[in-house]
């Protein structure tokens, strides 16, 4: 017990980085994902193709590889490379945001497909502009449909942040590993698992609450 109390401050410091990453990536990747969704429905084909290629590449390659690319790979790009030397936190935030945006884009696409064409038609007939139709009619309904899937992704994101230990960003798992090798005990793993569970528990609660708020029946 004494030991656990002693290692908690270090682990919490790590958990702070985990949370910071989560709190940055989620609000950035959601709107970016929606933007990509809108691009996939664009009538101007090159934009549509670009968005589809984006989803294809980001979903089709390992997140860890993308992380390595943004951290180790970018500085080697000819010409602009030297200006793209990112800190491990920035590289993590960037690659996670881009990766999660691709997943969210697919979730939102499914959400948009679930909305009846009649909603657009009646909005047109009532004189709403396309922007008003999107923001006041379509998005609120899409949010309700997609919240469970978005919540699922959010929990995956909490756990995926552990990947950044691989580029030595000192988050929760990074500290845990350090303690395990230093002290020759697996107790830090258990404590880390507990902290992850605590975070995902809170995220789950938040999304449950959001789902209840968004439920309009």
């Amino acid at each position: 017990m004494d030991y656990i109390v002693r290692i908690i401050p270090a682990l919490l410091r790590g958990a702070g980085v985990t949370l910071a990453l989560f709190a940055l990536v989620l609000p950035l990747s959601l709107p970016l994902g929606f933007l990509v969704t809108l691009c996939t429905t664009c009538r101007f084909k090159p934009v549509k193709w670009l968005a589809e290629a984006y989803i294809f590449v980001l979903r089709g390659t390992p997140l860890m590889l993308q992380l390595f690319f943004f951290y180790y790979g970018l500085p080697f790009l000819p010409g602009i490379g030297p200006y793209l030397r990112l800190s491990s936190f920035a590289a993590s935030a960037l690659s996670f945001t881009l990766n999660y945006a691709a997943y969210f884009a697919e979730i939102f696409r499914g959400g948009l497909l679930s909305i009846d064409r009649g909603q657009y038609e009646v909005s047109h007939v009532l004189g709403l502009t396309p922007f008003q139709t999107m923001t006041r009619i379509i998005i609120p309904q899409m949010i309700r449909v997609t919240l469970p899937s978005v919540g699922n992704e959010a929990i995956t994101l909490v756990k995926d942040t552990a990947l950044v230990a691989s580029i030595a960003l000192p988050e929760l798992l990074h500290y845990t590993q350090g303690l395990v090798t230093r002290d020759f005990t697996t107790t830090p793993f258990l404590v880390a698992a507990f902290i992850y569970l605590l975070i995902t528990f809170v995220v789950t609660l938040l999304f449950k609450f959001a789902e209840r708020k968004a439920n309009y029946e």
Binding site: Q119, E121, H124, V125, L126, G127, L128, R136, Q141, Y216
Partner: protein, 248 residues
């Protein structure tokens, strides 16, 4: 001057001709029932009038203003102004499921015309009373019956103070025992001399309420006239065949 004037209207989907040379005029206060078998182009005709489908050719004039002339549309702004003079009621109601009944009524006049406050609320409540749903103002659409939903949809269309109302099979998605309450509201509107075009399979309504009946067949208006003319002395063989099938 006719409220609605349609000349040589044509509409193609790919190489399928849905409307072939449709011409007709609707006077102010007319209630025109459009009947005909499914696939005859009734709904497409209605959707062309309110800009949900682009015509392939022909002209549409609403109260003297061109919506399109010989297949060429007026500017987007003019189009919108013309469309706002009409309301449409859909087969599947298309209520906004995330908004209460009251908000369903208020959102368009608020967003489109900038109306708000007690004046807007008063009109919404008045129209809900008119369709017999004043006590359901705070309800979400998901909790209403089909007939109630359709009455809300009619009230919502009326909120924009349209001069013309288009009904696209307003009772086709309803249980038979719920059609009466919707038809009753439409009958009231007809009595108030609202100009209406009603695509319908309700022959009773067409016969009793419509001032004119148009029979569509294969993308054309084959026959049109006063209800008693169409129903008792149809000139065309196909009209007769359709009517005898509709009665059965």
């Amino acid at each position: 001057m006719a409220m609605i004037e349609v000349k040589n209207l044509r509409k193609r989907f790919g190489d399928m001709e849905v409307l072939r040379d449709v011409s007709f005029a609707v006077e102010k206060g007319d209630v025109v029932a459009v009947i005909g078998s499914s696939g005859s182009g009734k709904s497409t005709l209605l959707r062309c009038l309110i800009g949900l489908e682009q015509v392939s050719g022909g002209s549409i004039r609403i109260d003297g203003s061109d919506l399109c002339r010989d297949g060429v549309y007026v500017s987007a702004a003019e189009r919108k102004a013309i469309i706002l003079r009409m309301g449409m009621v859909f087969q599947h109601f298309n209520l906004y499921p995330h908004l209460s009944v009251l908000k369903n009524l208020e959102i368009a006049p608020h967003l489109v015309k900038g109306r708000k406050g007690p004046e807007l609320r008063a009109q919404a409540m008045e129209l809900l009373k008119k369709v017999g749903l004043a006590d359901r103002a705070g309800e979400m659409p998901g909790r209403l019956s089909g007939g109630q939903k359709q009455r809300v949809a009619i009230a919502r269309a009326l909120m924009m103070n349209p001069e013309i109302l288009l009904f696209d099979e307003p009772t086709s998605a309803l249980d038979p025992e719920l059609t009466g309450e919707v038809l009753e509201v439409m009958r009231d509107l007809a009595r108030e001399r609202m100009t209406m075009i009603v695509v319908t399979h309700e022959m009773g309504f067409a016969r009793d309420v419509a001032s004119r009946v148009a029979f569509m067949d294969d993308g054309r208006i084959l026959e049109e006239g006063a209800p008693e003319e169409i129903f008792t002395r149809p000139k065309e063989e196909r009209t007769r065949a359709f009517l005898s099938r509709a009665k059965a």
